[in-house]
């Protein structure tokens, strides 16, 4: 509803431009990674653990090997190089060795002529397991047997925590952690496991190059880091592994870790045939990491006038069986635990533990979602305790440039927290609709459960923030390459950038930036592969717009300079080909004991959003209808405003899903709802209209002043929806997804 009526085909920075991939995606012509095909290809299949924790006594492949159409059956003994990999720590076996640590862990792989032959052969692989007691309660994990030998994450500059099964623990001490206020509120908050639930399951194609190397076509978020994990496990040099971005059907963090890349490559190299792998929906639920479930205790101490004095938090994240990006998620959950508020004193203790639950890692919002749910519930509670308007309370404490975070990091760039709060609060909320009305416009929707009985209306408010780009010294850069050549009507440009288009619209950012910088319409996008251009870093952490725009800007300016040097024109056949690497300002680690910043600071910049939610709740049945959401978001500069509105609406839907319905359920570590029948995501009847305001305060360090936009809506909407539900029901609702049981007051 916010989108401008007209979009351009060839626009510049700041204009709403039609997405180059929009029409093919809508008409079904777009080729996703599951559509890949190569002549003579085989189909791969993965044998997975049915146990959350077990010893492998024997893997008998003899029967499978001889089956019709089967070309390869491989286990960990066939992994040619390093036996384990991981985004930050190589703690995850390519194929399980002696032990499985989570439900669905890959144990063996098969390649056959037909997917059905591969599947049947996989069934004939006999794995003898000796089940072990799974570690499933994160609160007890630190007292139980370690599920990994040694400490995979120790010695990386993290705080020393001798307890078993700790992935990372962080303590942030800020000011006087014992400082007293005049009012104190506390609470315990919980979040279930959310799944990225992207529609395109893990899939890709590995093609042997005939010289010992392999080309991998895959839907991923970060081509070069895939390569850097795949190559060592194959025993190859990085140049022998070329990763090509294939059509990505959604990512949301779930494609940062590898899925089928090494497996398909092993099968391809073993058989010397192209090998395709496509997970089915059920398999996809165990084929990628999820959002960390959390248990959070918080205590807020404040003055009577609402000014926060001290925030104390204890955060426990369940990382599941392997580290993935848990260490960084832990850092985010702690650094943002106090919310976008100026707090002079704080004590934040945060730990992430290994368990035999589903592995968790990156998901949109990355640790900030969990903290935001807790700190915003606390702010509502504090407002109620003080009898103060929730918006006023937040404004009084809003963090601003010049203030410091509990990590001691000073806010230097743009940080319009007060402005987003004011703008969101000023959005007029819709009048209550009259009764009677269509069931579809009532809680319970098509279920026809109420005609107005039991329905109460509530208004919620929440604010949240997080960082843009990676942090703590993990400064990944982005490269872009621009090629200018003479064309019939002057000069034409081709831009290469390995930034993964995961649905967020980075392809348009690249093109709009190049058109702006070159002042040229004739710009086309070159391929995103590891062989054509340097690393773009990950399409995550809301960083890709900033970083891609920065890199393309540099490369275009260099190309233009060169063009000028050559007299402003090119002969036919003459080209200019330049590659440039863009770096954001450097970041530095947190002090391992105090959690305080060292050097320049742990983060590059921040993004914030505020949100107002109107919801109706049937308090007798515990059913909900979110009626309207209004939000104001700090975006720096909107490169493509229409795409920004899209990100805001999609991000809100994902956070709303976590608030109301999305949860991976487990029993003794086994996932019990691995399907879209039972893992529910919002439908159009669950998602309200969104009124979004873009707050454009340029980030001084960034190209055009851009910031990221993908994550803040997700960070805030879970908290904001829960806040509206609390207002409607008068209940605490300390856990998301909120269950109807809690709304109606069942134990």
């Amino acid at each position: 509803m916010n989108a401008p009526a007209r979009t351009l085909e060839l626009g510049r920075v700041g204009e709403s431009v039609k997405r180059v991939d929009a029409i093919p995606k809508v008409t079904g012509e777009f080729a996703y990674s599951s559509d890949l095909f190569a002549a003579g290809m085989l189909w791969g299949h993965t044998v997975r653990s049915p146990h959350a924790h077990a010893l492998i006594e024997e893997v008998d492949i003899s029967e499978a090997v001889g089956m019709a159409g089967v070309h390869a059956v491989l286990t960990h003994t066939d992994v040619p190089g390093a036996k384990a990999y991981g985004l930050e720590f190589a703690d995850q076996p390519v194929l399980a060795i002696e032990r499985v640590r989570y439900f669905g862990e890959p144990v063996a792989i098969v390649a056959a002529e037909h997917p059905e032959q591969a599947r049947r052969a996989a069934e004939r692989i006999r794995v003898a397991y000796e089940p072990l007691e799974p570690v499933v309660d994160p609160e007890r994990a630190t007292e139980q047997e370690p599920i990994h030998d040694g400490r995979p994450t120790a010695g990386h500059g993290f705080r020393d925590d001798p307890r078993p099964n700790v992935v990372r623990s962080i303590v942030i001490r800020h000011g006087d952690p014992d400082a007293q206020g005049e009012v104190t509120v506390s609470g315990v908050y919980e979040l279930g496991i959310q799944d990225q639930a992207f529609l395109g399951p893990e899939s890709g194609l590995a093609v042997p190059d005939g010289e010992g190397g392999v080309d991998v076509y895959v839907a991923t978020q970060w081509l070069h880091v895939d390569r850097d994990q795949v190559a060592p496990c194959l025993g190859l040099d990085p140049e022998q592994v070329r990763i090509h971005l294939s059509g990505v059907g959604g990512a949301f963090g779930g494609r940062e870790d590898l899925s089928m890349q090494i497996h398909a490559s092993m099968l391809a190299l073993h058989t010397n045939r192209p090998v395709k792998m496509v997970y089915n929906r059920e398999e996809s639920f165990v084929g990628h990491i999820h959002r960390h479930p959390a248990k959070i205790w918080m205590e807020h101490r404040a003055k009577r006038d609402g000014k926060l004095v001290n925030v104390r938090a204890r955060i426990l994240l369940d990382g599941g069986a392997y580290a993935s990006s848990s260490a960084a998620v832990t850092a985010n959950a702690s650094a943002f635990a106090c919310g976008p508020y100026a707090v002079e004193n704080a004590l934040v203790e945060c730990a992430c533990v290994y368990t035999n639950n589903p592995p968790c890692g990156a998901m949109r919002g990355f640790g900030a979602v969990q903290s935001c749910f807790a700190h915003e519930a606390q702010m509502d509670k504090l407002g109620a305790e003080l009898g103060m308007d929730p918006v006023e309370l937040r404004l009084r404490n809003a963090l601003a440039p010049g203030d410091s975070l509990p990590t001691g990091q000073k806010i230097t760039g743009s940080f319009p927290a007060a402005e987003v709060i004011r703008r969101a609060a000023a959005l007029p909320i819709p009048e209550p609709e009259e009764l009677p009305r269509d069931a579809l416009r009532l809680p319970g929707g098509s279920g026809n459960t109420t005609r107005g009985e039991g329905v109460r209306r509530g208004v919620g408010f929440a604010v949240g923030f997080k960082n843009v780009c990676y942090s703590e010294g993990f400064d990944d850069s982005t490269a872009a390459r621009v090629r200018l050549a003479a064309s019939d009507d002057g000069i034409a440009a081709v831009v290469h950038c390995a930034a993964a288009e995961v649905g967020q619209g980075v392809v348009n950012v690249i093109l709009q930036t190049a058109r702006t910088e070159l002042d040229l319409d004739e710009v086309v996008l070159g391929s995103a592969t590891t062989s054509s251009v340097g690393s773009a870093g990950s399409a995550s952490a809301s960083r890709m717009t900033w970083m891609a725009a920065g890199a393309v800007q540099l490369a275009c300016r260099a190309a233009k300079d060169e063009l000028e040097r050559r007299g402003g024109d090119l002969e036919h056949g003459e080209t200019i080909d330049v590659e440039r690497v863009y770096h954001h300002r450097p970041t530095t680690p947190l002090d391992r004991e105090t959690g305080q910043v060292t050097g320049d600071g742990a983060h590059v910049a921040y993004i914030c959003a505020a949100m107002r939610v109107v919801a109706e709740v049937d308090v007798e049945l515990g059913l909900t209808r979110v009626v309207w959401i209004g939000t104001a978001q700090d975006v720096g500069k909107a490169v493509n405003p229409q795409a920004v509105y899209g990100q805001i609406e999609g991000g809100i839907a994902q956070g709303l899903g976590l608030a109301l319905m999305e949860e991976i359920q487990t029993q003794d570590g086994l996932i019990t709802n691995a399907s879209f029948t039972d893992y529910l995501i919002p439908t159009t009847l669950d998602m309200p209209p969104v009124e979004a305001q873009l707050v454009e305060e340029p980030e001084p360090d960034a190209p055009y002043g851009v910031k990221g936009v993908g994550e803040p809506p997700t960070v805030v909407s879970t908290a904001a929806v829960a806040s509206a539900l609390r207002d409607a029901t008068g209940r605490q609702l300390t856990r998301v997804p909120v269950r109807p049981d809690e709304i109606v007051g069942l134990p």
Binding site: G447, R451, R625, D678
Partner: protein
């Protein structure tokens, strides 16, 4: 896998007698899911889609006869929707438009899931299921036809022809609780009718016991009826909801449905 496609009912019944292991397929919205998930590998599918005898609905001595092949989309259309309003309302809650265009009442009876949304509306219509085989035809009251979760009284050589249902003699409604506002398998459901002719309220619930079940009361005896309906249920805890919630919701739904239908 063989697919048999008879064009007459007689042919279909002969085929079923010859191949009792043949799995009938109508809309396929349950059968194909089973195949996709590899939960079933039938040697033979018996495709019923060419059988005119199973299509549509008719009036028969004051009651309504629904063909097994009646789709949810058809059940939502007037005039049938006015004769069986609870079935029409239930049909509206089923899946999305594609599923409603393919899914059928006969398929819902065949699957006999405790969550089958057509079943409570049929129960409050005192439905009788019509079955046929080369041995002949027989009728079974729906409450006897449903023998357990995903189990029914169909014999190996039989097909479901349809169901005979009592038309509404007073208001009816159907309600379904789900964890989101559309496209859900019911956590608990309820159909209810006020039958003025028989001076009776009949309620039937789904997803709150091994089978959908009917509970009735005289119109004059409605005090405590919601609690009685809830007490007749034997719900369980599962991924979709808790037993305690199901019982609670059932009494809320019943109270609301009674009020709706008495207005």
């Amino acid at each position: 896998m063989d697919v048999l496609t008879p064009t007459t009912l007689d042919e279909a019944l002969r085929m079923k007698a010859e191949r009792p292991d043949a799995v009938p397929i109508q809309g396929g919205t349950d059968v194909m899911v089973e195949l996709n998930f590899d939960r079933a590998r039938p040697a033979v599918l018996l495709n019923l889609n060419e059988l005119a005898e199973l299509r549509g609905w008719s009036r028969e001595n004051g009651s309504i006869r629904l063909g097994a092949g009646l789709t949810y989309t058809e059940a939502m259309e007037a005039p049938l929707a006015e004769k069986l309003p609870a079935l029409a309302e239930a049909s509206r809650t089923v899946g999305g438009p594609q599923i409603r265009n393919r899914g059928t009442v006969g398929g819902n009876l065949g699957t006999a899931s405790p969550a089958g949304d057509a079943l409570p509306p049929l129960l409050i219509g005192d439905a009788v299921v019509e079955l046929a085989s080369i041995r002949g035809e027989r009728t079974v009251p729906l409450n006897e036809f449903l023998t357990g979760p995903k189990r029914n009284a169909l014999a190996d050589d039989e097909l479901i022809l349809g169901a005979r249902v009592r038309a509404a003699h007073g208001a009816q409604t159907f309600m379904k609780v789900g964890p989101r506002n559309a496209m859900v398998i019911s956590v608990v459901s309820l159909a209810l009718t006020v039958d003025r002719e028989r001076d009776e309220v009949r309620a039937a619930f789904g997803s709150a016991g091994p089978v959908a079940r009917l509970v009735s009361a005289r119109l004059a005896d409605l005090d405590g009826f919601p609690e009685r309906v809830a007490a007749a249920a034997s719900p369980i805890d599962d991924v979709r909801g808790s037993a305690a919630y199901r019982s609670h919701a059932l009494s809320v739904l019943t109270a609301r449905a009674v009020e709706r239908c008495l207005q």
